[in-house]
Structures are given as structure tokens and as C-alpha cells.
């Protein structure tokens, strides 16, 4: 074990005097924590709650249904990140849409989809844009590129979501409020710390911007614990090498030019005021839902499955406490989204902690 990690663990042992629950918001952190086995190294009393920060897990069923529908339209190619392929909608996932005749292309970047649209002018190229504030600037850039190049066959199915409204929603619930948050490092690299400063003050809850390596995570946790033990509740930055207080202005400007907030259903949680982003009116011509007059989807379809994702994502139960975990819900046949993504809390537990 690295000396730095050993030392941080030692510090944590000394720092914790009372039970604390710290939520890592970000699914990438959940994944790292589970694969490193970090929880087993934490002092007793210090508990991690795995938050709703996996954009795959929280993408509403109706949006997946729209993606499936679009992929099946003749002449349309739906481009998606690999993460979304196995997430169940109400009528199957994108892999089954593909097997059933849909055109689904895996892409690593929306900019690739723009290039594809340029080389296939007779194909309608729809990019399925999921992700938090980290990912949204690339979508904005893709739309700007496509418009500049005059690619009339490029459009976006916009599923972007915003983190701060979700934290607000969590803190407004009656149960399951964590004592502190690890704020998502890569989101903050774009947005900066302002929203979190506001939330920390309003809910009197410490927040520490945190990265993804073992030392980063431990430092973030330690900086939370220090505040909790000291009765402080401010924003601190444990990932300062990449996150400036003001974030990335250029990225923020691109996002603001293209998107505006809207209320959005988060899968497993429910309607979160201001929790999503839609294209601004000026970009309506590149909004796939409008261009293809997609059906509105059937909200709530996933709740029928019995999946307890809502309670897992709010930290009310651990994945292993869900009665379906590992039996009728596995990565091969997931009942809910958190079992699909490598980042989903249930999948992370399944892969690394079944023992």
C-alpha cells in the first residue's frame, strides 16, 4: 500500500470520534471505492452512502424508450455511449433494440457523431446525450460544430441532468440525509464550487470537492470528517489540481448557449425541480424529440419492476439489502439501472463485494 494512503487511513482513524455518514455523490467514486475495498479500511462509525451520481442510473425510462424508438425509425442512426446499452427501458434496452433491427452505434464522443453525420448526409444521426455537467459541454460543442458545418442531419436526444438540484432534493427529504458530501470532482471542474457553497451554507453540511484515486478519496473523506468533528460546514477542495473555484468558464459558456434548466424525472428518485437540461429554443431544430415527434414515454414504468433503486440512491438501504440483489437482479438481467452501469451502486457491490 502506498505510504500516502496508509498515512491518510491512520489520520482518519484518529479523526473520527463519532459516527458519521458521508455520501459520495458520484458513481465514479462509488465504483472506485468498491473496487479498492476502501470501506473496509475506514474506521468504525464512519459510513459511506452511495449517492445518485450515475447519469446512466438516473436517466428516466421514458428517455430510454425514446432512444429505442428513434433507433428503430428507418433512416435514423442512434449514437450512444456504451454505458447506456444495457439500461432497461419499458420495452427492452438498446442492445435488444439493435438485435431487433434498430440502428444503434456506440460512440466515445458526441464529436464523433458529428463527424459521422458529415460523412453520411443521407442518414439522420441522433446523439443520445446523457450525463452531468461534465459531459454536457461536449454535447454543446457538438451542436455548435454541427450548426457551423451546416449538418442538418444531426440532432440530440437530450438527457442531461444537473447535480446541485438533486442534492437539494436529497436534503429536503425526511430520511437519509447524509452528514457530509464528497462533491463530484469532474463535475466541479466544469461548474466550479459556487452552487456547493450555497448548499453547504443552506443545509449546514460540509462539502468537499473530491477526486477518484485512493488518496484523493481518502483526503476528501478526511476533510469532511475534520469539518464535521469541528462543527464546520463549508466547501473545501481536495481536488484542486484540476478544479478551480470558478470552474471552466469556456465550458460553462458553451453549456449556457445551448441548454437551459428544466424540471426532470430522475429514475428511482422522482421529479427533481430544475434537475435536467433541455435545448434552448434557438436549438429546437436540432432537438430529436421535436424533429421526430417522439412519443412522451410512459413515466413510472420502472417502479413496476419492484426495483428499490430510489432507496439505494438515497442511501436508505445498501444494495445488498434489496431483496432482489443477486437473485432476480444481476448485471446479466438487471431489474433496475443501478445494476447495469459499472458505476451503479448495485453493480459495484455485485462485482466486488458479493462475498
Amino acid at each position: 500500500m502506498q505510504e500516502e494512503v496508509r498515512q491518510l487511513i491512520e489520520e482518519l482513524r484518529h479523526a473520527v470520534t463519532r459516527p458519521w455518514a458521508v455520501m459520495e455523490v458520484c458513481g465514479g467514486q462509488t465504483h472506485a471505492i468498491a473496487s479498492l475495498g476502501l470501506e473496509e479500511l475506514l474506521p468504525p462509525g464512519l459510513r459511506l452512502i452511495h449517492g445518485p451520481g450515475c447519469p446512466v442510473c438516473v436517466t428516466a425510462v421514458e428517455l430510454i424508450d425514446q432512444a429505442v424508438e428513434l433507433s428503430l425509425r428507418p433512416g435514423v442512426v442512434l449514437c450512444s455511449y456504451g454505458d447506456m446499452m444495457r439500461v432497461p427501458g419499458s420495452r427492452g434496452d438498446l442492445f435488444s433494440a439493435k438485435a431487433g433491427g434498430g440502428n444503434v452505434f456506440l460512440m466515445y464522443s458526441p464529436l464523433e457523431a458529428v463527424a459521422y453525420a458529415g460523412s453520411h448526409p443521407d442518414t439522420e444521426v441522433v446523439f443520445f446525450a446523457v450525463g452531468f455537467e461534465t459531459t454536457a459541454p461536449a454535447t454543446a460543442l457538438a451542436l455548435q460544430q454541427a450548426r457551423m458545418l451546416g449538418y442538418a442531419n444531426f440532432s440530440v436526444l437530450c438527457a442531461h441532468v444537473l447535480v446541485p438540484p438533486a442534492l437539494e432534493w436529497l436534503m429536503d427529504q425526511d430520511e437519509g440525509r447524509p452528514d457530509a458530501f464528497l462533491a463530484p470532482g469532474h463535475v466541479c471542474a466544469v461548474t466550479g464550487e459556487m452552487d456547493y457553497v450555497r448548499l453547504a451554507a443552506r443545509y449546514r453540511t460540509p462539502m468537499v470537492v473530491t477526486g477518484f484515486e485512493a488518496p484523493d478519496l481518502l483526503r476528501g473523506i478526511l476533510m469532511c470528517v475534520r469539518q464535521l468533528e469541528a462543527g464546520e460546514y463549508v466547501v473545501r477542495n481536495a481536488y484542486g489540481r484540476y478544479v478551480k473555484p470558478g470552474g471552466n468558464r469556456a465550458a460553462q459558456e458553451r453549456m449556457n448557449e445551448v441548454f437551459e434548466p428544466e424540471d426532470r424525472r430522475w429514475r428511482g428518485l422522482g421529479l427533481i425541480p430544475g434537475g435536467g437540461m433541455r435545448l434552448r429554443r434557438e436549438w429546437n431544430d436540432m432537438d430529436a424529440v421535436l424533429r421526430f415527434e417522439c412519443g412522451k414515454g410512459r413515466p413510472g414504468a420502472d417502479e413496476a419492476s419492484g426495483c428499490l433503486a430510489g432507496q439505494v440512491l438515497r442511501g436508505l438501504i445498501r444494495p445488498g439489502e434489496c431483496p432482489f440483489f443477486g437473485s432476480s437482479c444481476t448485471p446479466l438481467a438487471p431489474l433496475g439501472a443501478p445494476m447495469v452501469s459499472g458505476e451503479g451502486a448495485c453493480a459495484a457491490y455485485y462485482h466486488y463485494k458479493r462475498s
Binding site: 424508450d65 429505442v68 424508438e69 428503430l72 425509425r73 420495452r91 427492452g92 434496452d93 442492445f95 435488444s96 433494440a97 439493435k98 438485435a99 431487433g100 433491427g101 434498430g102 412519443g295 412522451k296 414515454g297 410512459r298 446479466l332 438481467a333
Partner: protein, 344 residues
């Protein structure tokens, strides 16, 4: 709510992940292939099967099968994949023993079709007395396959000491054909061309090794054997004659073709002598054994219609000549590519 077609449920169709080497692939192998073929020696997951083998020379062959439609009267791509390889082994006078099965599946293939094809394959192997001992499954993206492609490779044991090859053919030899021509090819082509057969024409696909074994066991010094597949009789015999450096003379009237097969060929402008079979073979052997061989062949169901269709002579004006219905002799040339339906 949506007007577009919606996909079938996940579990009904082949998906890319079925070829990924993980749990989904193992489940496919267990539920479809092992349930059809039984557990191969050495367990599911061994890289290779380890087999006992009797003494003798080893015959080895391979063929890939790409037929459309996948299922047709008289069989499927599954039974065809067994018969094709069993027959290629039989044509060296080998006793077929073990087959491998390599599947290339197209994303979107209905699992029930795959299951039927695998069952067909298993039944054909059982009937032919061979074992499918190891296999492989790959999945390719939709639009990069055609439902199912199957490769089979086979090994058999050669217990006789004959040199069965065109180079053994001698002037004076008789050319025997095991039955009527063109059923398999016309069954397939008719399905595509919208033709129907009154009394249910079926593919002739069948294993030929027992018929061959009957002849060889009787001690008949067979010179050459060849199953009549792609390119039909014309291609098969042209190859033998060309390799042997001799001329084969056929008599058109002695070549059996069913009337309905002939009519379907007429309709599409095809030559029945160039249409593929999957259950017919040619045997070239010394004339003095012709009668005995014919009787032995006729004693097997698959070759009940055996007949003598020609003779081998010293090299004449062309490797393959045929005396037609008006008594005039003409050249038969190896087909160039494949036969296409034509209108003139």
C-alpha cells in the same frame, strides 16, 4: 403510445454479448448447444476435445455452410452441415467419427431458430453415427451475417488401403451416379423463386458413408469417389476427368432427373446437370465390378436410384463429353461461376 415497431424482448434474439465470452455466452452454449449435442468429452469449457482414435490413416475435411433459407423441405443448415462434412469424409472411403461445429451468428437471430437448427444438427449427427465433440460461437453485428453460418470440420479413419483419387481412374472404368440430380439445389432455388412442387420436393441432403462403406467393404477396388455438390455433375465430373487427364463420356438418357426438377430448371433457365445435390455421389470403378457395386449401392436407401451414366476413355477432344437425346455427342464444360436464373 409509440407508433414505431418495438423490439422483441431481450431473451428472444441473439445479441452481441452472446459472443462476448462471458456469462451470457456460456448460458447460450448450455441452453442451446449442450442441450442438443450433449456434453462433449472434456466438459463444456475445454479448449479442445481429447479423443480415442482407432488405428488407420486419418481423413480430415472442412466446409462452411451459408444457405438461405436456413430451413427448407428436407432439412436445415444444421443437418446440411453434418451431411456435407460426413460426405466429404466418406468420399475418401473414411469412416466418419468426430465433427467440430463453428457457429457465426448474426445479431438479431431468433433464438428459437438457432435451437431448431442445433437440434437438427444433433439429430443428423446421431443418425450418421458421428459425434460433435467441440464447438465455437461468434456473434457478428446485424448486417454482417445472414442469420447463421456454420462451419463443420470432421475427422474419420481410413481402414482400407485404396488410393481413392482422380489419379487412380483408368480408361475403361465405369461412372456410377447414386441417384437423381438436382433435388437439393432446386428445393432451395424454388423457395427463392416462388415455385412450389406438387408432391413436395425435398432436398436430397443425406449421409453417404454407409453406401460407400458397403461398396468398399465388399472389396471393390474403387478408383474415385466424389459427392455432387456445388457446380453439379458437370463441375464434379469435369474436375475428375481433368485431374485424371482422361475423357469421361456420358449418356444423357441414362442420367436420372425428376420430371418436376427438370420443369423447374426449364422455368428458370437452369441446367439440371449443373445444379447442386447434397446426397448424391459419383463412383468411378473398374467395369467388371460395375454390376456388383450397383447392387450394393441400390441396397442402401440413399443410393437406391444408382445407375451407370458413362465410361472413362483415353483423353479425347475434351475431358467431358455427353451423347445427347438426338444421339449427337457434345462437350460439357466446367461452369464458370454459378448458374443464374435467366430469361433468354
Amino acid at each position: 403510445m409509440f407508433e414505431c415497431p418495438v423490439p422483441e424482448p431481450v431473451s428472444d434474439r441473439i445479441q452481441m454479448a452472446h459472443g462476448g465470452g462471458g456469462r451470457l455466452m456460456n448460458e447460450l452454449i448450455r441452453s442451446v448447444f449442450l442441450s442438443a449435442f450433449g456434453c462433449p468429452s472434456g466438459g463444456v469449457q475445454n479448449d479442445a476435445a481429447v479423443l480415442e482414435i482407432p488405428p488407420g490413416r486419418l481423413a480430415m475435411t472442412t466446409d462452411s455452410f451459408v444457405v438461405q433459407p436456413l430451413e427448407f423441405p428436407g432439412g436445415s443448415i444444421g443437418s446440411l452441415a453434418v451431411h456435407g462434412t460426413v460426405n466429404d469424409l466418406a468420399m475418401s472411403g473414411a469412416e466418419p467419427l468426430y465433427l467440430t461445429a463453428g457457429f457465426i451468428l448474426e445479431e438479431g437471430l431468433p433464438l428459437e431458430v438457432l435451437a431448431r437448427v442445433a437440434q437438427d444438427m444433433a439429430a443428423a449427427a446421431r443418425a450418421a453415427g458421428v459425434r460433435i465433440v467441440t464447438g465455437d460461437t461468434k456473434v457478428v453485428e446485424r448486417g454482417k451475417g445472414d442469420g447463421i453460418y456454420i462451419n463443420t470440420a470432421g475427422v474419420g479413419i481410413v481402414r482400407h488401403g485404396l488410393e481413392i483419387s482422380p489419379s487412380s481412374v483408368r480408361p475403361g472404368d465405369s461412372v456410377l451416379l447414386s441417384g437423381d440430380l438436382g433435388r437439393h439445389g432446386m428445393t432451395i432455388m424454388s423457395l427463392r423463386a416462388g415455385l412450389s412442387f406438387g408432391d413436395g420436393l425435398e432436398s436430397d441432403s443425406a449421409p453417404l458413408h454407409e453406401s460407400v462403406a458397403a461398396v468398399i467393404r465388399a472389396g471393390i477396388p474403387v478408383h474415385c469417389l466424389r459427392d455432387v455438390t456445388r457446380g453439379g455433375l458437370t463441375a464434379t465430373l469435369s474436375e475428375i476427368a481433368e485431374s485424371a487427364g482422361l475423357t469421361v463420356k456420358l449418356n444423357e438418357m441414362s442420367i436420372p432427373v425428376r420430371e418436376d426438377v427438370r420443369a423447374a430448371c426449364g422455368l428458370l433457365g437452369l441446367d439440371p446437370l449443373q445444379v447442386a445435390c447434397e446426397g448424391r455421389y459419383l463412383a468411378v470403378l473398374p467395369r467388371e465390378h460395375e454390376e456388383e457395386a450397383l447392387n450394393l449401392m441400390r441396397g442402401c436407401g440413399v443410393s437406391a436410384g444408382a445407375c451407370v451414366i458413362g465410361r472413362v476413355e483415353e483423353l479425347g477432344t475434351a475431358p467431358l463429353l455427353m451423347t445427347g437425346l438426338l444421339g449427337v455427342e457434345r462437350v460439357l464444360t466446367m461452369p464458370s461461376g454459378m448458374q443464374l436464373p435467366r430469361i433468354c
